[in-house]
């Protein structure tokens, strides 16, 4: 366990109040739409009403004729500049503005620039586009049918098939299934949904014709990577691009990709020599930017009568929409989906995924989860419940029986991962205890006898985060290390800069605590800065719960470099040899000589005013951290629901969340992350759905129909922790931002299915709407 610093220093384990709050609670934050520059103009995209259509003509005359309109950019214009297409983050390309055909409803067709927002909106209506409608492909299961239209005529392979990916031992797994005493199968669709951060995507592109520099204020979770991609795609020297991610109003994966609106704003600024602001509407955000999930999955478990699991077989069809714009490591077409063996000790496993194109918005982004881990955790936790039903076993006991035992870590999973550490039973037992599990089961039995519907759902998930080791993980070729640069000023105050970018996670506070822990400088004296590519060291950004495992680790390592130099300076000042010095947070003292010590502040002053001979001046360090492995947070969630038979409504009565994310930087922030992730899990389980009708019309493309929970639908969350530090992380942390969103959907669904299990119900696809539940009750004759 880590030595706890004083509250004044506020290192690891202190619930330090957040520094970022003070500006945000006064309305003094600086979000992209708050940026106002002299001469700034506004852009608006013209979008296709059709899901699949050929563009016969685009007439911009009337739009250009409107007073105040400065430019209308079309696909043809971009084509001339070689910018009609841009690379996605996953081995594909995507139209910036459609040239000859559109592939999904609300796709960008033209980009209008005007003196103000209102004129731009008026002008967008005046752009006349003539379309010839084409047959639409919506159902991914029909993507490979011979009679389905080929969507991507631009590709050499004339097929809607994007990739086949498999991992594991197919033959051995099949053999195990042939001999299996018990089999359980679940076909589960993880529906298409959208992160819908409250701030939509947008940018201000400011190309200065005088300096030849482009400054780009961007809603970006990965400013450095975006700078590099803009340099490569746009041909602007990277030193002439400055990307600034100011305050970001939530990201959840939505702000990892580069979107056509950004590129159009840059092109417009280059064309006009004026700053161009582009801010998405909510409908544009939901209908055109990175969606998540849309995995159509089958899982089978082979087990013995004794309830021991033996093998797992998973087959999945992935709907990527019009372009494969998945934002994930380039060697992993299905992200880290192969963590689908979860918390259980399978000897054999096989997993295969096929990706296809459809006439839907592009994406496949990691919505508040490490790439495709939510899908994996949901699938295995659903499958374990189905197995429990087959065996007539208690789902908690079945899980306890099959957990990977603590002494097996580091654990080699059959699909190739090396789990760093875990104690799954500890988290499970704590959750059962908090829930009063046995009493709940008794209550359920009594209620059933009375014909009332109550359910208890358990999910014991394992996450895989912190990408990642550079040997395996890269985004578009850029290795997934992350970085920190610390400068200690003469007066003992410090600034620490990171390659990540907070979107609400509280880095300005938590990362300061890491430095405070290592250097003993009070967190109040440490400024944390992120998001400005001119000042921050290069990093891959914040998503997939990677900030603490990578940048946080880099912070600790950079601080330790500084401490090593500080030790040299202290030795000089104390006229002692380094070996005789001992460190306590904030000071070096000479062993056995009480009172003979130098504080880090005194040492910092000396680093600039009284430099030891032969030593460089200053007290600074940079560290680029390449984690040796990923980290594997885990936990057990228990959900208790009551179902109203008359209306089919589900009420979440209680939700117990026991998380284990290793050592914790700021308990207050960790709880906040868990509350938020659980609430998004609730939304996904019960409400959040983006669907398409047979013509490719988006259903759920605005906040009237894309339902996100309010305070009224959200229950009170009961949280607790166990602590199993990561053995390879500098201070034993694992990352937590996404565990609750990864682990909770299965708990909600398991609870609702459990409430109906006695009726023979084995699975219900999300979202669990009242009408779906009611129809089941009707079929089962429970309601008249």
């Amino acid at each position: 366990m880590i030595a706890k610093t004083s509250p004044e220093i506020g290192g690891l384990g202190h619930s330090v109040k957040r520094k970022e709050d003070l500006r945000l609670i006064q309305g003094k934050g600086n979000f992209v739409d708050d940026v106002r520059l002299a001469g700034m103009v506004y852009g608006q995209a013209v979008r296709s009403p059709f899901a699949h259509a050929r563009i016969r003509s685009v007439n911009v005359e009337n739009a250009l004729a409107l007073p105040g309109v400065l430019a209308v950019i079309t696909g043809k214009d971009l084509e001339k500049a070689g910018l009609a297409w841009m690379p996605t983050l996953f081995h594909d390309r995507q139209m910036v503005l459609a040239v000859d055909k559109v592939l999904f409803q609300s796709q960008e067709v033209a980009f209008v620039v005007a003196e103000d927002r209102y004129t731009a909106a008026d002008a967008a209506e005046l752009v006349e586009v003539e379309y010839e409608e084409l047959p639409v492909l919506v159902d991914p299961h029909r993507a490979l049918d011979p009679d389905s239209p080929i969507l991507r005529e631009d590709r050499e392979e004339k097929t809607n098939h994007i990739f086949h990916w498999e991992v594991g031992d197919r033959e051995a797994t099949d053999r195990t299934f042939q001999q299996a005493e018990v089999r359980a199968q679940v076909n589960a669709i993880f529906q298409r949904c959208h992160p819908a951060p409250l701030e939509t995507c947008g940018c201000v592109a400011d190309y200065n014709t005088g300096t030849g520099r482009l400054t780009l204020w961007l809603t970006s979770q990965a400013p450095h990577a975006h700078r590099t991609l803009f340099a490569i795609v746009g041909g602007i020297p990277e030193n002439n691009i400055r990307v600034i991610s100011p305050d970001i109003g939530g990201g959840f994966g939505n702000k990892v990709p580069i979107y056509p609106g950004y590129v159009c704003a840059v092109v417009a600024s280059l064309k006009l020599g004026r700053p161009v602001k582009w801010i998405e509407t909510r409908s544009e955000n939901l209908q055109s930017t990175g969606f998540a999930r849309d995995y159509h999955m089958t899982a089978e478990i082979a087990a013995g009568r004794d309830g021991r699991v033996k093998a797992l077989r998973v087959k999945t069809l992935a709907d990527h929409g019009a372009f494969n714009a998945a934002a994930q490591p380039s060697k992993f077409p299905a992200g880290l989906f192969s963590v689908c063996t979860g918390s259980y000790d399978f000897q054999k496993a096989f997993c295969e995924v096929d990706g296809v194109y459809t006439n839907k918005a592009p994406g496949g982004i990691a919505y508040r989860c490490s790439f495709r881990v939510t899908e994996a955790a949901y699938l295995i936790e659903r499958a374990m419940d189905v197995l429990a039903q087959e065996l007539k076993a208690d789902p908690a006991e079945l899980r306890l029986k099959n957990f990977i035992p603590p002494d097996r870590f580091p654990y080699q999973s059959p699909l190739g991962w090396s789990y760093d550490s875990g104690n799954y039973a500890a988290a499970m037992n704590r959750a059962l205890e908090m829930a009063g599990y046995q009493e709940l089961r008794k209550e359920q039995a009594a209620k059933r006898a009375k014909g009332e519907l109550m359910g208890i759902g358990i999910s014991s998930f394992t996450e895989i985060v912190g990408a990642g080791p550079a040997h395996t993980f890269d985004i578009a070729g850029i290795k997934m290390f992350d970085s920190c640069e610390i400068r200690v000023h003469p007066t003992g105050k410090a600034i620490a800069r990171f390659g990540t970018k907070s979107q609400g996670q509280g880095h300005e506070t938590a990362f300061g605590q890491i430095v405070a822990q290592e250097l003993g400088i009070p967190v109040a004296d440490i400024t944390v800065e992120e998001g400005d590519t001119d000042t921050a060291p290069y990093g891959l950004g914040t998503y997939a719960s990677r900030s603490t495992p990578t940048a946080g680790a880099a912070g600790a390592m950079a601080a330790r470099k500084i401490r090593d130099k500080a030790k040299k300076i202290a030795a000089f000042l104390l006229e002692a040899s380094e070996e005789d010095l001992e460190w306590e947070p904030g000071r070096f003292s000479v062993k056995g000589v009480p009172g003979k010590s130098k504080t880090i502040q005194e040492i910092a002053f000396a680093a600039y005013t009284n430099i030891p001979p032969g030593l460089e001046a200053g007290l600074e360090a940079v560290h680029y951290y390449d984690p040796p492995n990923l980290t594997f947070p885990f936990g057990t969630y228990i959900c208790v629901v009551d179902i109203d038979k008359g209306t089919g409504e589900t009420k979440v009565r209680r939700f117990i969340a026991v998380d284990d994310c290793g050592n914790i930087i700021n308990p207050m922030i960790v709880d906040g992350q868990i509350h938020g992730g659980l609430t998004e899990g609730l939304g996904i389980a019960f409400m959040q759905l983006i669907s398409y009708d047979e013509s490719g019309n988006v259903q759920g493309g605005n906040f009237m129909d894309y339902l996100v929970p309010t305070a009224m639908e959200t229950p009170h969350w009961e949280t607790d922790k166990t602590c199993t530090p990561s053995p390879h992380h500098p201070f034993g942390a694992k990352g937590v931002g996404e565990s609750p969103n990864v682990g909770s959907p299965a708990a909600f669904v398991n609870a609702v299915v459990d409430a109906l299990a006695h009726l023979g119900v084995k699975h219900i696809d999300m979202p669990l709407t009242p009408w779906k539940v009611w129809q089941i009750l009707k079929q089962k004759g429970v309601v008249d």
């Binding site: 013209v46 009403p49 059709f50 899901a51 409803q105 209506e125 752009v127 006349e128 586009v129 409608e133 009708d693 047979e694 013509s695 490719g696 019309n697 988006v698 259903q699 493309g701 605005n702 009237m704 129909d705």
Partner: protein
């Protein structure tokens, strides 16, 4: 947002008389208000437009209808219509077939099928609600058609064709939907019966859309 509507009804008039009516636009022009044929491309293809006002909203559509089949011998007709929102925010299309069959009692059975598909912002907000109002609108059309048929029975053909909107047949008081439409003069010689049905379905779609969008508060 595809919808299929079937309507079959019987009239006592003989088949030839009914066919004459069904294939002669002038007599059915008024069956649905607001449809306007602006141009005859050829004897089977016509351009039209409709301006639909629903609650606080106005939507202008430009459309084209074409007789895929007009088989007097078999008493069968099929036409395809398509309209695009002039603001470029979507389209609606319809395939309609009409078939007549003589009845033993000398009367005629009229069987019509309309397949409507709405795309764009209306469908985004309108959900599956297009269905029943399309149904109601189409029902209104057939009701008016029958009424007109009875009038025309044995009656002298009107010297001047009635223009849409100046429909001698008053809208049924219980008109299921009260659509206010601009109803310009109807060029007499151009068939709008099919167009009218098509636009009726179109309006139905829009109507349904507002049913969905508004409400909750005012």
């Amino acid at each position: 947002m595809a919808v299929r509507i079937e309507k079959t009804f019987q009239v006592q008039e003989p088949i030839d008389q009914v066919w004459k009516l069904l294939s002669d636009p002038r007599n059915v022009a008024g069956c649905v208000p607001g449809a306007r044929i602006t141009e005859a491309v050829d004897e089977r293809t016509f351009k039209g437009s409709v301006s639909v006002k629903v609650g606080p909203s106005v939507t202008d559509y430009k459309g084209e209808v074409r007789f895929e089949r007009l088989d007097a011998a078999a008493h069968e007709m099929e036409l395809v219509g398509k309209g695009q929102d002039v603001k470029g925010r979507g389209s609606a299309s319809m395939k309609m077939t009409g078939r007549l069959r003589s009845l033993p009692d000398g009367g005629t059975e009229v069987a019509t099928v309309a397949e409507v598909n709405v795309i764009g912002i209306l469908a985004q907000f309108g959900g599956r609600m297009i269905n029943d109002v399309s149904d109601v609108m189409f029902g209104e059309f057939t009701k008016r058609f029958q009424k007109r048929l009875q009038e025309s029975a044995g009656a002298v053909k009107p010297a001047v064709a009635p223009a849409a909107g100046q429909d001698p047949v008053a809208p049924t008081p219980a008109a299921p939907v009260a659509v206010e439409t601009t109803a310009p003069e109807q060029p007499p010689a151009e068939p709008v019966n099919a167009a009218a049905v098509f636009f009726a379905a179109l309006r139905a779609a829009i109507r349904r859309f507002f049913h969905r969008l508004l409400g909750g508060s005012a």
